[in-house]
Symmetry: C2
Subunit: 159 residues, 2 copies
Amino acid sequence: MNKNHGKTKNELLDYQTERIKLLIAEMVECCEDRKFYESRKFDLPYAEIKCLMLFNGEHYLTVKDMAQKLDVAKSRVTKLVKNLMNKELLQQINDPMDARVRLISLTSNGSELAREIDTFQTDIHQQLLLKMEPTERKNALVYLETLRSAMEEVKEKLV
Amino acid sequence: MNKNHGKTKNELLDYQTERIKLLIAEMVECCEDRKFYESRKFDLPYAEIKCLMLFNGEHYLTVKDMAQKLDVAKSRVTKLVKNLMNKELLQQINDPMDARVRLISLTSNGSELAREIDTFQTDIHQQLLLKMEPTERKNALVYLETLRSAMEEVKEKLV
DNA sequence: ATATATTGTTCATACTATGAATAAAAATCA
DNA sequence: TGATTTTTATTCATAGTATGAACAATATAT
């Protein structure tokens, strides 16, 4: 009666492991497709979209700030800002307090586009929730949070 | 008593929307970090890791097969296979049935590495589950599945 | 005043990926 | 059978994502 207990338990865990592996992979792929879609929709490389999104709530950012927020090298930010300035979506002025620093901000075009993109992103996430029943929504968030912290914990041990 | 009902409801939804947006972004970032870690650990660009993983359960694959499974252009696969052949992890023979086709398979080195990588990937996903209580595991999977299908549904309408 | 640290740029390099052009072989059909 | 079309894979030009070393200019600390 108890003979297979250990084995059965492991079988369940193995099954769940394969399942979570697949589910996470599918979700991540879905997110990548969304990024690709946004890129096309707004006619901007995704890295540049992420750049614009940094200015939600912040008026001025320096290259260093942006590099930190995006978690990329400063040289990458230099390039991205240059591209976005060519597209007249960003502008920069010299910091009157420190001649090394450039203060980067959205142009009015950039501001408008950033708002559009933000609205779009919020909208599709809201659609996600609306696909579920109100009770499901709450639970989905709770378990997603559980999963997220589990992921962070596992990650910590890795690095 | 009923005056603020609609407003309160929207406030909840807005809050949940911001929350799910953030949670998904954090999870995706976590997954990206994991890819980066794997790349370093196994000393292979991640695209090449994905290539090797295609051979779990399949002995021979053609360039076309691989392109379909990876969802990339054939020319990309040609390049990746060439790289992996230089590293002696993949090998190819001509299909005796069709002179256009190359049958690609793992070398014994490649086979060993692919097994190692698979073990690693399974292991970290199992660790994820082990961070949770058994009941939580089941629920997390259920709601992850709910979320995944919601994401697919939203995606369908997009494209 | 000098040494050190910070900020941002340029450049070489590597990885991910696409799509057009092409060559070779196979399948179709006339 | 011979001509046409399709399929398979490669090469090449191009673009996007990203890093890190070397550097110049400026600020800070000693």
